[in-house]
Symmetry: C2
Subunit: 390 residues, 2 copies
């Protein structure tokens, strides 16, 4: 307690402070402050700020958080597409790369891609590999966050129980954190657009459907990291459509991008993916627009109970289908405002994602930064030898 | 930061420490520790510990949390019954009182009872009124916790928007905190029996049905304090029973104590309250037992989706009907383990409340203690003149 790591938390707000100000703010002995500031300077996590402000004499040095001290690799793996970014310690993207990649190709192929492209990004950015703070990765299925292993993921053959965390830690020599894609999207969206809203639901509508819950500003993962899994909840009005999970009546079986594409194809309209649905909707295809509106209503049926139970102040609709215009979200609003308990919808906002396809990348970076810059981790970080003093 | 209030948090674990140990543990300057220990001693929140351990010479004094420094009044108001307790700062009940009281009689009558009986308890316990840390109260309806006012509570005519917090603060001259009865029961049960389980659902089955959610060890109240309101969620298989809320198909309309009593009465069995149902079940009445089992299944239908979404590690079934034996909980288990997502039920326990009818009282006390002994509040407390030095 009250370690260098704790002192550092103060400085993460970006405001520069002198040693005397830090002593006054914390009640720490002046000698302790000096010792801890020195350790933080050696780690490069803080640096002297605004030297130019000197007007003669020797004013006391002020210190500030240095978001370039280290960097993060953030990966967002979807069913058919993968993104990887290099970010600073404020989750700002410095460089990125993306590729069509099937998660069903298995963990070695996908994680080798992360390994190769990640090291390319580091090299191209001219960064020291030892300055990598950590790797964050989102996967399209349930993940036990504490062990970094997927748990019975329905669309990820070969991944069940695979040690994703250990694999990436070996390849990069830094901490790796794994979560499901919707959780990291919720983190990213909350960090960028809704940090003032303590209770938020992020709903991803793409090939599949899932949600991430923010409770009191923190991700609610649940006991198995399975919280927010709403794609396989039953629609109240029932349906006999068979879901890829093997059950019938799941929300995902009727309202996902894959389900809408299949319905369009059955009507002789060329569509096989979420992206086809989005393209048709943007082109004004009436049937695509009608199906999107109905998908919104179906999602609303399941969300209505979730809203009564969780009582968020904002629901963010993201994922590829959310980019097809207002029809999907209008359908969601139509049902949620009618069906949820009046008190729970009193000030509820239902909005489109503002981070779009960057939500996952930003969230994966935030996950690593929040973990690795917590007090105890910073103390560990500083007990290791500093890598580069760039 | 690093104030006397922060120092006090260390001591709340009950372990006595010397000034030197506190300085070592915190990194605070020795002079700062002395200053803050003196302030805490003056406030009576800590006291010298184990003087008897002295074996000659003058060993350094050790200090420990003094749970008797102040006391709390904790009220649990049900639909037809009210309880009030005086507890110490560890939420141990020191004295209590209970009475049949209709919440529908309105706020003045109910809160006057709290006022009168509360002051009686304080006097009988021989405590100084100025040592009251605060008043916690649970009410059987939705409450906006931040303002301490009920919000459109269905069974509490006259209470909508009533300033319960202000009323009690005026009467007792201490902070008052208000929440709904299920939230405080969740807090009480979590505090006593499940403090190691970060994610918990507490389901109250009594005259009505509701739940309280614990996320990462903290109560998830939601944006309007309406989280956990599951009594008015729709049963998946539908029903045309009209609920007291005006809708049809609500869980509460078919599975609450009131609903079961009505079903028994319709069969010519004398029953009008939850307590009658419990008495019949304990007496082995087959129809009561069958209806309890079916109520458990109906609750399980609604809980199944909640479990998938929230992914708790434990569900505690409390409220008066939970005391009727294993039939209710067996019905809940039957459906939840069949219907929830496999990952979410992997290690899920569904258990009976261990605090029984004390859950609300303990939770109301915990709510006040956690609020009023937080660092910033302790700092405020100490800036006021100490009341008694008992």
């Amino acid at each position: 307690m009250y370690s260098a790591g704790s002192l550092f938390q103060l400085l993460r707000d970006g405001r520069p402070r002198t040693r005397a100000e830090l002593a006054a703010e914390t009640g720490l002995a002046r000698s302790t402050v000096t010792q801890r500031v020195d350790a933080l300077l050696a780690s490069n996590l803080i640096g002297p700020a605004d030297k130019a402000a000197s007007t003669g004499g020797r004013p006391p040095t002020r210190f500030a958080f240095n978001p370039n001290a280290r960097y993060v690799l953030a990966a967002d793996i979807g069913a058919t597409h993968a993104r990887l970014a290099l970010t600073d310690l404020a989750a700002e993207v410095l460089a990125q790369s993306a590729d069509d990649l099937l998660v069903a190709a298995g963990p070695e192929i996908v994680l080798d891609w992360v390994d190769r492209v990640g090291h390319d990004l580091i090299r191209q950015a001219g960064r020291d590999p030892r300055d990598l703070l950590g790797v964050g990765i989102g996967l399209p299925g349930p993940v036990e966050h504490s062990t970094g292993r997927p748990v019975s993921p329905p669309i990820m053959p070969g991944w069940d129980g695979f040690d994703v965390q250990g694999y990436l830690q070996d390849r990069f020599g830094a901490v790796a954190l794994v979560d499901n894609d919707v959780n990291i999207m919720a983190l990213g969206e909350h960090n960028v657009a809704w940090s003032d809203a303590p209770h938020m639901m992020f709903v991803k509508v793409a090939t599949g459907i899932g949600s991430g819950l923010i409770s009191d500003g923190r991700l609610h993962r649940g006991a198995q990291g399975a919280a927010g899994d709403m794609g396989h909840l039953q629609l109240p009005h029932g349906t006999d459509v068979v879901c890829r999970c093997g059950n019938t009546g799941c929300l995902e079986a009727v309202a996902s991008g894959a389900a809408i594409a299949a319905k369009l194809a059955a009507r002789g309209i060329e569509a096989s993916t979420s992206f086809d649905v989005v393209a048709l909707a943007r082109g004004g295809n009436i049937e695509a627009l009608q199906l999107l509106r109905q998908a919104g209503r179906d999602i609303g049926e399941v969300l209505a109970a979730a809203v009564s139970l969780f009582n968020p102040s904002v629901i963010v609709i993201g994922g590829s289908l959310s980019q097809a215009g207002e029809h999907l979200i209008a359908g969601v609003r139509e049902i949620v405002y009618r069906r949820s308990l009046p008190l729970a919808t009193q000030d509820l906002r239902i909005v489109q994602s503002s981070t779009g396809d960057r939500a996952g990348i930003i969230g994966a970076a935030v996950m690593v930064i929040d973990h690795a810059l917590a007090p105890a981790q910073v103390d560990l970080l500083m007990s290791a030898a500093p890598a580069a003093m760039s």
